[in-house]
């Protein structure tokens, strides 16, 4: 057994070396002249679910944007020049949020607030929809398109009721100016329409031809959908009239560089990793730490990026069900679990104690654990004696039993939970692990019929939205069944706060409050890895420009085909 310090040191050295290599590679790439051509093959996480519907009006959010985002663009995106791999401060590995100082207009060139409730957006001029046979001629994007899309989303029979209640009216002032009239301010206005899951701009010609048919889709984005082999691969080809340019080494280049992008839909982890090893896939995002360890050994030429998952597991405890009505019991369960040991031993150190729902990447909203008040910190410290004391105080000197529902599809947690159960048993609490099938498990939560204990890994998407949807009364993801009117009002007030610094502070405090209330057993969040081959240039492991979209990242990378051939692929 190695001494911990040695392992930690070597790990730090390794990641420094990796960062060094990746950074050096990027720097070198920056100096290198980019070449056009080639195909990018990428595969994402183990979900392997292909786009279910191509029509944005179907409101399928989380599943759609990765693929529809290759051709449908939005008003805003993140500024990739602020990426960590380019010397900036954001890794851009989270899906739903854009830091305010890293926002870049995509279809929008500039925007301003003439009045506190009026947003004026000036569109980029010269952005074109490419010609699509049988659907539309090539034409320029105009303000009417934005208005059309907003209204279409807002009248869709599948929309979330009340999602756009804050918008009074959207109108096109002139050819390139869109005006949004709000009736109240909410902090995630851009998340709801602008850079979110429901913000893609679809031309009305596509809708007329049938927006759900993949053969009709057409957008301003860098790639066009050319082939769908459901369950196998989605093929996209370069948009010949794409508007954006990349600046590399001081020179400006027309994007995209690659001719084709193929999204490989592979359900099986082993198959994904083998395909990566043999160069059939260029980028594989979302690799588990165990697989990463092995891949680094077998394929040392790969470049790596590590990121903290947003899907941190936690065992939600129903605050409306005995014995979890008593906050002491909930806190006791937190203290009874040795979370640091789980990080060290179960995850091999590749995890972090997580202050759900504030991900460390939410700069300004996130307060690290060591800066949280003592009462929160103690929830993450292993103290079975104190746990037992609290339980006795609450009237359970001999413990109790409760049922915990878990999805049998979540393999990692299925392994972890018996460990947690063992910790709880040591203080007399018996956790009955009840595996459920995916649909049944999810539905138990969304229909509010879940058991007293419920393992959820719903990701935190957005610092302003997450508190609301995970702990708000009657919200779909509110597994703990929290029903705190005061809390809800405070969250609403925070969301309505225009001043960002003030908003951040309010949300920080609300997060601390939620952590303290312990409506769940907070569990560590594992790290995950993204790997790519060195011939993928101008890429540093970024994953999202917001709301699950990855297209702009693909647009600005290029494939060094000579290097690929030299390496033997």
């Amino acid at each position: 057994m190695h001494s911990p310090s040695l392992t930690t040191l070597s790990r730090i050295a390794a990641s420094l070396a990796l960062a060094g290599i990746a950074g050096a590679a990027l720097a070198q790439a920056q100096a290198q002249e980019p070449k056009y051509g080639g195909t990018l093959n990428f595969a994402s996480g183990s979900a392997g679910v292909a786009t279910l519907s191509w029509d944005l009006a179907d409101w399928q959010a989380t599943l759609q944007t990765r693929d529809t985002g290759q051709f449908y663009e939005q008003l805003f995106a993140v500024d990739l020049s602020k990426a960590k791999s380019r010397g900036g401060k954001y890794p851009f590995t989270i899906s739903g949020w854009q830091p305010t100082d890293a926002v870049r207009g995509e279809l929008a060139e500039s925007w301003s607030w003439p009045t506190p409730l009026t947003l004026e957006v000036k569109l980029r001029q010269g952005v074109k929809f490419p010609a699509k046979k049988g659907v539309m001629e090539e034409r320029e994007l105009v303000a009417e398109d934005i208005v059309y899309n907003f209204n279409r989303m807002n009248t869709s029979p599948k929309r979330t009721q009340g999602y756009y209640d804050h918008v009074e009216k959207v109108e096109a002032q002139d050819k390139y100016t869109v005006v949004f009239n709000f009736n109240k301010y909410i902090a995630d206005w851009d998340y709801r329409f602008g850079n979110g899951f429901f913000s893609g701009i679809v031309p009305k010609e596509v809708v007329a031809a049938g927006a759900g048919n993949w053969k009709n889709v057409n957008g301003t984005g860098p790639f066009m959908l050319t082939n769908v082999a459901q369950g196998n691969a989605l093929t996209f080809s370069k948009n010949p009239v794409y508007w954006d340019k990349a600046t590399i080494g001081g020179k400006s280049y027309q994007m995209p560089f690659v001719d084709r992008v193929v999204h490989r839909v592979i359900k099986d982890d082993s198959t994904q990793q083998s395909a990566l090893r043999t160069g059939k896939i260029d980028i594989l995002s979302s690799i588990s730490w165990e697989a990463a360890k092995e891949l680094k050994k077998s394929t040392p030429q790969l470049l790596w990026n590590r990121w903290l998952t947003t899907s941190a597991p936690r065992v939600a405890l129903r605050v409306d069900t005995k014995p979890f009505t008593d906050v002491r019991v909930r806190r006791a369960l937190n203290m009874a679990v040795n979370k640091q040991e789980i990080v060290d031993k179960f995850y091999g150190g590749e995890a972090a104690l997580f202050t759900f729902p504030m991900h460390p990447e939410y700069v300004g909203y996130h307060r690290p654990l060591n800066e949280q008040p003592a009462s929160v910190q103690e929830l993450f410290k292993y103290d079975p004696a104190k746990a037992k004391k609290l339980l006795t105080e609450a009237g359970f000197p001999n413990g109790f039993a409760f049922k915990m529902q878990i999805c049998s599809c979540n393999i990692e947690s299925m392994e972890l939970m018996p460990l947690v159960a063992a910790y709880l048993e040591a203080v007399g609490v018996k956790m009955e692990i009840t595996p459920m099938e995916y649909g049944a498990h999810l539905s138990a939560m969304t229909s509010h019929t879940n058991a007293a204990g419920y393992l959820t890994t719903i990701p935190d998407v957005n610092p302003t939205t997450s508190l609301r949807i995970n702990f708000g009364k009657d919200q779909v993801y509110n597994a703990p069944m929290m029903n705190d009117a005061k809390f809800d009002a405070s969250v609403a007030a925070a969301i309505g706060e225009r001043d960002e610094a003030k908003r951040q502070q309010m949300l920080r405090e609300l997060t601390t409050q939620v952590l303290d209330q312990a409506p769940a057993i907070w569990m560590p969040a594992p790290y995950r890895y993204t790997a790519w081959w060195p011939w993928v240039k101008n890429y540093g492991g970024e994953m999202f420009v917001g709301a699950g979209r990855v297209a702009p990242i693909h647009a600005q990378l290029w494939i060094d085909q000579d290097l690929k051939k030299k390496m033997g692929f």
């Binding site: 165990e290 360890k293 092995e294 031993k345 049998s408 299925m414 460990l419 692990i433 009840t434």
Partner: protein, 302 residues
Amino acid sequence: MKTQAISMTAAGKARAPQRPSALRSFFRKLFREKRLGAAGAVVAIFFLLVGIFADVIAPYGMNEVDMGARMHAPSWEHPFGTDNLGRDLLSRCIYGAQISVIIGLSVAVISTVISALIGIISGYFGGKIDMLIQRFVDAWMSFPGLVVLIVVASVFGSGITQIILTLGLLIGIGGSRIVRSAVVSVREDMYIHAAKSIGASAPRILWRHVLPNVIPPLIVLFSSSVGAAILAESGLSFLGLGVPPPHPTWGGMLSGNGRTYMLQGPWLALAPGICLTLVVYAINVFGDALRDMLDPRMRGTR
């Protein structure tokens, strides 16, 4: 009276050293002539005993986590090594044997009974009964087994009982066709016509003529059901529908940790994989030998 008594005792004494027990001669024939089958039987019985006495034999618990002993290669303390949670693999394989025995035998019994009932009734009586039953079998067989299993898992949860009943039903109805085809080909045989013409009753015919001739396929079905059930459970584990933790099954270990740690810890796959393959193989080989020996038409031949 005296003479009667004498003659009776004489007869009794004369009858004593008659034929040896049928069972003993069966085993003798097995070990002498069907060596492969005998080997299979030995292996199968070995695992059966391991499964039955699992609680006594296993050195550690089935779910004894020991984070300090993670991913140890085979050693004296852990002859099969440990897994990613420090659990002793030998013990888990032993408990896996227990579950495999339970699942395998239960499914085999249920499916063989179902196959026999449906196949014999359908095949022997023919006509409308046959038509009706076969339509039902057809409909059932066209249900993708996966749908049935997922539906059962979703509605009733995933557990050993649900898996056993569902697999038993699926394999049983599927196997009934083979039994039926054997019955049908026998039904047309001359001596059944002969027996019928003599006036033998249906049950008698079934018992004396049909049954002995469907026993070979039934035996093959039984033995292949055991193997099929154990294999099916492993496939279900791969899809996430198998026996849920903490019960270790060979299939679950193989498709789970075995695949994840295939390169870092090959013993995680080798141990359950070899157990699984060995048992299924042994049972099938034994079943083959059994069929060879019990086939009435083979008796007297070599």
